[in-house]
Amino acid sequence: MTATAPPAEGGQARDERLLPASPLKKLLTRPELGSVVGAAAVFVFFAFAADGFLRAASLGTVLYAASTIGIMAVPVALLMIGGEFDLSAGVLVTTSALVSSMFSYQMTANVWVGVVVSLLVTLAVGLFNGFMLTRTRLPSFIITLGTFLMLTGLNLGLTKLISGTVSTKTIADMEGFASARALFASEATIGGATLKVTILWWLGLIAVATWVLLRTRFGNWIFAVGGNAEAARAVGVPVRRTKTLLYMGVGLCAWVSGQHLLFSYDVVQSGEGVGNELIYIIAAVIGGCLITGGYGSAVGAAVGALIFGMTSKGIVYAEWNPDWFKFFLGAMLLLATLLNAWVRKRAEATS
């Protein structure tokens, strides 16, 4: 007698890995759970601590602050799940605005032409990052630090060379400005709250990114290359293509963000954007993305951006002594991240 065939007795010896998980347990193991709890805590805290935080107008302001970070935090989170990160994301936003403005102005073209050229440039920068990373196999820290410095220099140097000053000229009187502004920087007042169009862009990006991550083959590739690139390559995942596309995703969102900047203020200062890349990464980390890759979610990054928006503006609503602004911000961020990690650990322990 050989014991090759197990007795087929109505599921009694079913593989425990195939057991249906309870909905509660499914919920508890979601990466964004910790950040959602953290966001709720921050919200409740400021609802009590800050007068006027709960007014509709204030919530509109908080959402705007969150959306401008969130638009970039979503692709940065995807990139982190894919095991890489991008230090050039902050200045790339400024590059996007500068290219769009200067191209339209210098060519005396319809501003939409500048908008399209700017998209090509940001995608090309993403392509460059991805190409350099996958070809040279240098760490993304080095590659994107190089890109960050080069872009910072180009932003300043080219703007000065072309415009003669360090900020761009106004393009508000040019053709196509009104329609471009409607797409990238319009707003609507609903129930006393002024809602900016960036909130729609943000929600749209969250939806698309979540769908890509959870419902497409490309989403599986992202988790695979972030978890273990060699193993992923061994089972036929196109690692290079996946990572390059992720960098181009960052470029795409930097374009959206940069066009918003341009069309809401119409003049761009070339030195802006430095330091924002860290804010995007922080938002993704608060949202449950692991710095080591392979784990995280787009919704989590969005909630991370929301926590950032609520904290930075909540401090203003609470009228705390502004000298301590950065301290409070740092403490709130640490607390939220710790809470996030704690909830995740509890969820894993009870499962």
């Binding site: 204030s58 005396t108 073209a109 360090v166 802006e272 203003v316």
Partner: protein
């Protein structure tokens, strides 16, 4: 691998199409063509040397960060004076005190004929300025450091006293009947910014609150001011400390539904336009062009004729209060980046 290459080719193709589109999709309004048309009417403004004095080399070292519009204007003034005075002009900057000092040291090593320095971080620069003076190089301080300038051995100081400028703003707010104002600081820890707000507080009869914002992140600046205006509807004036932030404040006022008047330090094309159409109340200008121009010109005068201005006291370039009635006349100068 193949995909990446296809990507490159696709990007190149789309770029080519876009360039083609550009040639056809021209804007009939605004843009460079309009600017060129305006320029054609004016004369070519580049200076020509008017003196036959030897070609001296003057160097300027400021505490400017990268891409700062204000320092761009200072530099323009300095270069204009240098062209006129037959001066070889060198410029370097760093917002780190220690690095700024090293830049000064390297110009002293180069044995320049004159040195222009800002003293935003006076302690860091004390030794370097002393070295220059010991080497017989005349030093003029500009912009910040009026208190230390003389003690450090500089010939004179050209700039705006930040406290005095703040006081002028406080007086103007009183004149306009404001009761509760907000002072928006875009660099936390900048001594000059603190002095400005403190100056406003001294002369302003109403109350003044400080608000710190992240100057490198414009949407954050706007959202923070918006939040503050929503929290306290009694605020009837917002004072920003740099020209680019006045526009963000104006947008914040609109979304917050506030009636506050927006006033600002410094000037640029947008501020001039804002003053003109009534979006902004007033601007207080310290005339950065003058700071650069006068510094080079005074060094030349000292070299040529041992002239010194100020009699041991700072030569003030501001505060000049600019309102709607002055704005129209300044628009063209802000456009070309010298006001």
């Amino acid at each position: 691998m193949a995909t990446v290459r296809t990507g490159v080719r696709a990007v190149a193709a789309v770029l080519a199409v876009a360039l083609g589109v550009t040639l056809t999709a021209c804007s009939a309004t605004g843009g460079k063509r309009a600017e060129d048309a305006r320029k054609a009417a004016a004369e070519a403004a580049s200076g020509r040397a008017n003196v036959t004095t030897p070609r001296w080399t003057f160097a300027m070292v400021t505490h400017s960060g990268d891409g700062d519009t204000f320092w761009d204007i200072v530099q323009k003034g300095a270069r204009q004076a240098a062209a006129k005075d037959n001066i070889n002009f060198l410029y370097a900057h760093s917002d780190e005190g220690q690095q700024q000092a090293q830049l000064v040291d390297s110009y002293v090593d180069k044995k320049v004929d004159g040195l222009i320095v800002t003293l935003a971080k006076p302690d860091a620069l004390k030794a370097s300025v002393a070295r220059a003076v010991a080497a017989g190089i005349p030093v003029i301080t500009v912009n910040s450091g009026s208190a230390q300038s003389k003690a450090y051995g500089a010939l004179t100081h050209i700039g705006q006293d930040e406290t005095v400028a703040g006081q002028a703003v406080g007086d103007e707010l009183d004149k306009r009947g404001r009761k509760k104002a907000l002072c928006v600081l875009h660099e936390q820890g900048n001594v000059g910014h603190e002095q400005r707000c403190a100056g406003v507080r001294e002369t302003f009869d109403g109350t003044l609150q400080n608000l710190y914002v992240d100057g490198t992140n414009m949407p954050d600046v706007q959202a923070s001011i918006e939040a503050k205006l929503q929290t306290d509807p009694a605020i009837d004036a917002v004072v920003t400390l740099g020209a680019p932030f006045a526009d963000a404040a104006a947008q914040a006022r609109r979304t917050a539904g506030s009636k506050a008047e927006i006033d600002t330090f410094d000037l640029n094309a947008k501020v001039a336009a804002g003053l003109n159409n009534g979006t902004l109340g007033f601007a207080v200008d310290q005339q950065p062009y003058l700071q650069g121009y006068e510094a080079v010109d005074l060094l030349w005068l000292y070299r040529y004729n041992a002239d010194v201005l100020g009699g041991g006291r700072p030569v003030l370039t501001g505060p000049q209060i600019i309102t709607k009635k002055d704005a129209a006349a300044l628009a063209a100068y802000t456009e070309r980046g010298t006001r």
